[in-house]
Amino acid sequence: MSSELVIGAVKAIVVLLLVLNLTALLLWFERKGSALMQDRVGANRAAILGVGRRLGLPNLGLVNTLVADSLKLFTKEDFVPAGADRFLHALAPFLALFPVLVTFAVVPLGDVIRLGGRTVELQAAPLNAAVLYLLATLGLGVYGVALGGWASNNRWALLGGIRASAQMLSYEIAMGLGILSMVMTYGTLDLQAMCRAQGGVWLGWLPRWGIFIQPLAFVLLLVAGIAESKRVPFDLPEGESELVAGYFTEYSGGKQAVFMFTDFAEVVLVAVLLTLFFFGGWQVPYLYSDGFHLPGGFLLALPQAAVALLGVVAFFVKTLVFCCFQLLVRWVMPRMRYDQLMRLGWKGLLPLGLINVVATACVVVLAGGVG
């Protein structure tokens, strides 16, 4: 009993650390990547005693992002505007971060591994209603930004909060519909089972990934996901040119860091979801439990531990790719207007999602069910 508890705790901490580190990495990528795309240098000033330069290394800005900025953020004055609701003002950032982080608990990082006769699921919380859990926690995410905006006693902040919550609520529906089609396709609410179902190939060469049977759902989830994380082109809640910084205008220091953190954690989450639903999660193409079965009948045998490890690596690679994709979108898309945003959500994605669900249902029933 206690060892299971320990394993559970370890898994939770591992997942948490992974997400946090990934987030920090994304922060760096965003700064440096954007500089690269815009043909400028980007963060490059801070260095530790000039060691890197002396060694002749290019300044990657890692010190800026990972050390200097963090130090600055956490040592800055925690400013609360006059007339703000102090309690909610303090609570809001954590209310925003918490649901995103706990969502990762149900994400399967890989297949089971066997350690000393014990089977360990590479999933912090193996839950057979994981999709419902996912939707529930996603729903909670609204409160942080909404209350943050409201509690600041600032018009821009309030407007940002309202925009954020309306936007998240609207796109949650499209997202839910996308996820629903996947649930119907695989006939399960269990994410691990969904990943397992994506193993193997069609026609001898095409991986059985979700993207190939539910392309529309992928589009839905991608768009809605970006909107959920309030990033360009859906970054109206924090549109600098209109609202200063939207709902976190009045935040500074550590609390602002938490908000920023939430932002990137959401990016990771969206990437994870896309990976899980449409790109086989930890499935590596042609890799089975005993090794690679390449098209054409070639078999490349691998030990079980290596297969598991490959799965985890594959998962991270896919996630990273989608993370980067999301960051890249920022520099190629203009910001939408608010009415365009709403129109896209309600008149574009929602009908598409409904059509997709109905079509899926028809196919599922005609095919005699999935179970």
């Binding site: 005699g368 069910g369 179970g371």
Partner: protein, 499 residues
């Protein structure tokens, strides 16, 4: 999921078709209304009325049957046919009354009629449901549509306010209803009414829980039928709501609520009758007395009709308190007459209203007898029926009801009831005084020669007279409806209430 699951359900077209027709019509009206302009509103109204009439056909087709469908959640019996027909009629009348009003007041016709149809669907479901879940859903479908309709004239502060009060108190009562259902479920272990009756007949170990639940459900229903002390919403809601909707609330909501009330309490909780009839006795006495006494003081016609509706709920509760087969038949019959009479009265009020000139107070009606003899005569007849003047529908209904109550030994309750109807004569006649015996008032010719309105008023008057003078077929129909509902469960006792 396999298709086998669906096949296992006892599907019944007869149960679904009427609801389906109404729902489809609602969607069609909604879509058409989005495109149509204000001037096509009347066409939408006529279409809605036609759809309601069409829905009556499958209802009639299930006459003579008496069985349960959808795994015992819906009853296909004469009882539901009876109520569904009356509900369809009341809804169609509401639509006809509304035609002119909607145009005159500049309301959105598509949404208006769609909501009326949705409400009608909810009411029909309440009448047919044999399961607490379905009753609840029907109740909510009806209520939500009616909440919205009550506040439909949203440019008027009063309308929105009426909707708010109606909504808050309605939702409050829903809470009681739900908790009560939960406790009954806990005690009996089922939500379906037939097994519930069987379970009660077999006796339960959880009598306390059951009685608590019954009490709370009673509160919930008391709210819906506007029984004192849960009547506070009624006058405000009626006064603020668009007038045709006030009539719809007074008739349709009451019909459906009593249909479910009677089915749940009379038919299925009959084993507990001695406990709840005592409560209903008190509630009935309070309801009629308070309704009538407060109605005396009203200056507004709609408000007066609202209090009179409360009083009539009181009379109907006398029948519930009597708790016999005979009384149940009387309730059915009374509701029929009440539907015709009250809708007619509201139709007349609608005929007098127009934008800017609302015949609000009774004093506005002064001299109407000379300006609009036909309409005044109709109003007089309908009000006399509400008073209980023979040989109109209201009289025979009361007679039947009181007779049944006397047979159950509720002499004092009946005495209270008849004294109340004397009190009620005062305020009904006060209207006639204004119409016929006083001069002045607002010099506006009524909206005469509106075919729909005239049809509605004519139908109401004709019905009121016909049901009153030749009650035999309707009494027989009410009786048949009850027998049909009673015979649903072939085993078990056939008596409505062990009394």
């Amino acid at each position: 999921m396999s298709p086998g699951v669906l096949a296992a359900v006892q599907f019944s077209w007869l149960a679904v078709l009427p609801l389906g027709i109404v729902a489809l019509a609602a969607v069609a009206v909604l879509l058409a209304g989005a495109r149509a302009g204000q001037d096509q509103g009347e066409a939408l109204g006529w279409f809605s009325a036609a759809a309601l009439a069409a829905a009556a056909l499958p209802v009639l087709a299930s006459l003579g049957r008496s069985r349960l469908a959808f795994d015992g959640t819906v009853a296909v019996d004469a009882y539901s046919v009876y109520f569904e027909l009356v509900i369809l009629f009341a809804s169609a009348m509401t639509v006809l009354i509304s035609l002119r009003y909607v145009a005159e007041m500049g309301l959105a016709p598509g949404e208006y009629y769609a909501l009326v149809l949705f409400a009608a669907l909810g009411m029909m479901l309440m009448a047919a449901a044999d399961d607490l879940i379905l009753i609840f859903l029907g109740l909510e479908t009806m209520s939500l549509a009616v909440y919205a309709l009550a506040g439909f004239a949203r440019r008027q502060a009063r309308s929105a306010e009426a909707a708010l009060k109606y909504f808050l108190l309605g939702a409050f009562s829903t809470g009681f209803l739900l908790y009560g259902i939960a406790l009954i479920y806990g005690a009996a272990g089922t939500l379906k009414l037939e097994p519930l009756r069987a379970a009660l007949a077999a006796g339960t170990d959880h009598r306390t829980l059951l009685l608590c639940g019954v009490g709370l459900v009673l509160i919930g229903f008391a709210f819906k039928v506007a029984a004192v002390p849960f009547h506070m919403w009624t006058p405000d809601a009626y006064e603020g709501a668009p007038t045709p909707i006030a009539g719809f609330m007074a008739v349709g909501v009451k019909l459906a609520s009593f249909a479910a009330f009677l089915r749940v309490f009379g038919l299925h909780l009959g084993a507990l009758a001695p406990t709840w009839t005592a409560v209903v006795w008190v509630v009935a006495a309070l309801t009629m007395t308070a309704g009538n006494l407060i109605a005396l003081a009203q200056q507004s016609l709609k408000r007066m009709l609202a209090y009179s509706a409360i009083a009539h709920a009181g009379y109907l509760l006398v029948g519930m308190a009597a708790g016999s087969n005979e009384a149940a038949g009387a309730i059915l019959y009374y509701l029929l007459g009440y539907a015709f009479t009250n809708l007619g009265a509201f139709a007349v009020v609608v005929a007098l209203e127009r934008r800017g000139v609302e015949h609000e107070s009774i004093a506005d009606l002064r001299g109407l007898g000379a300006r609009a003899p036909g309409l005044s005569a109709a109003l007089a007849l309908l009000l006399l029926s509400l008073t209980g003047m023979p040989p109109l529908a209201g009289f025979v209904g009361k007679l039947y009801l009181f007779k049944a109550a006397l047979d159950s030994g509720l002499v004092w309750l009946v005495v209270i009831a008849v004294l109340n109807s004397v009190v009620s004569a005062y305020y009904y006649l006060r209207v006639l005084v204004a119409v016929y015996m006083q001069e002045g008032g607002v010099a506006v010719a009524p909206l005469a020669a509106r075919p729909a309105l005239l049809v509605a008023v004519g139908a109401a008057v004709l019905g009121t007279v016909l049901i009153g003078v030749f009650p035999a077929p309707y009494v027989a129909a009410a009786g048949a409806a009850l027998r049909s509902a009673l015979s649903l469960s072939s085993p078990g006792p056939l008596a409505l209430i062990a009394r």
